[in-house]
Symmetry: C2
Subunit: 329 residues, 2 copies
Amino acid sequence: MNRGPATAVLPPIADIGSFHVGGVDVRLDGMPARELTVVPGSPVLRIEQNGDFVAWQVYAQYVRLASPTCPWPVVFWHGGGMTGAAWETTPDGRPGWQRLFLEAGFDTVVSDAAERGRSGWARFPQINLDEPFFMPKGEVWRRYRIGPSEGYASEPAQRRGYPDGRFPIAAFDNYARQIVPRWTGTDRQIANGYRALLERIGPAIIIAHSQGGGFASNAALQHPDLVKALVLVEPGGVSHPQAIGDAAGPPVPTYFIWGDRTEGDAFYRDTRKRSFDAVDAIRARGGEAELLDLPALGITGNSHMIMMDDNSAEIADRTIGWLRSRVVR
Amino acid sequence: MNRGPATAVLPPIADIGSFHVGGVDVRLDGMPARELTVVPGSPVLRIEQNGDFVAWQVYAQYVRLASPTCPWPVVFWHGGGMTGAAWETTPDGRPGWQRLFLEAGFDTVVSDAAERGRSGWARFPQINLDEPFFMPKGEVWRRYRIGPSEGYASEPAQRRGYPDGRFPIAAFDNYARQIVPRWTGTDRQIANGYRALLERIGPAIIIAHSQGGGFASNAALQHPDLVKALVLVEPGGVSHPQAIGDAAGPPVPTYFIWGDRTEGDAFYRDTRKRSFDAVDAIRARGGEAELLDLPALGITGNSHMIMMDDNSAEIADRTIGWLRSRVVR
């Protein structure tokens, strides 16, 4: 393995491992068995397709430090069309947020939402009722504000980003390799899987991106005992201000992060406004809330994939600073 | 997070991260766009389904020790219907082979085959030509020799294993949570993905299970410069003795591991015999080959999932002993 230049050694690590948790038991009947050659040259197998399945379980990979500086782990929830890989190394090979938070002394849990990545997926239409959708590279480029629409080209050398764009576009194809199919009708199942994850690991700080932000925001409302803080990176949805106002417990401390060029897209205009409204609602109840509005600070060019942009380490530092001053006291 | 009893701290770790590599560029045309609500309450999005995709890329997660005791990493290739999670913590929470090999001083790379886990999967029938198949729990139980066929029941409390069975059957449902759909027509694509992985990381020791064994065996034949040793755990296929005999370079040192109760199933009888034939072919060319035939040593009750069985740590120790005496010298 190319070991490259010497890097800082991570803090002593007590354990690395993973588990699956949650999911729903499903029984299927009435499908014909399939005859398949599963390994070239080996006997044909008759494989039963009926029986017991589990659907919408959740995979989580953990790293436990020997001496963490925070009593709770950070749990990373990815956005739509992605997996936990989004939090690992950046597409151009820089340390991802998983590593940066380990360096800062946090235990980490990197999970895959139900029906993504190592969580597996259940057959459709028998279990997942609708069809998944698949985002072509050009859609990923445009929707995630990697560069201007007209800047996308099939040929990497012909792609053009924004003059001040921060996404490492030379590594865009590496990012495209981590995009996975997703469903839209599985929000309840994903939320249930994440609840099982939180119940398994106990109180945690959730760092969630995009689609994951809605699940994190709702988890904080419904299980405030299990959520010590939220970091929401361009959350695709957050709980309604009314729900935050009406919640039983005190609001969970929340740090919102928003990048550049959100005004040209109805989806981002809408979801960004919901973040601002949530800040007001949390503060109105005496809670801690802060919104890191990068363009307002003169930090331009951030895409939707802030944890992959060229200033991802700086944003992680700011986030860790907020957690240290407002949560881990 | 439940930190449990104090465990041994791992050797100092220089880096933890991941990457995607390989895959084939595919262009789709002629499909209608879809209108979807991707986040509850947010505007409907019109999502283009045509354009550029990458298919059959490979995900790999690496842990690099500060001072490894072996110059090459071990790369773990899982079996059919599984992901790299098979090598992490066992379903009943004991250290998996990833951790055991880290403790022994090896860098580790845990990968997901193309179309499994975090490698993602391409739509069918447009890109993957056939349909995936899904194994119900009862099939997993029977085919992987977890217990007798009639010992499977939907209700965990009613399941009965073999009297001497070594699979942790109380945790069988945790194992079932890590089963994922798979295709049968993608062998060439999976092999190409794994070749890209080896080219990226350089010479490695491959530890492969079941279906992964065929890919590993062929990789050793085709790229002997990139494969320092093979550990094949109940390989589903190994290269034909003739091909081993005719290969250009010297045979790659290979350690085969076989568990119990293979004689009652045509698939295992056949694939096990191919392992014995491969040992003969490797030795006939002056190469190193050993077959750890557990029942012949009086070690009974191992399932197909040897890295999860109750003696998984002992089998890892034996494997590490063989690597130290025959490969890392």
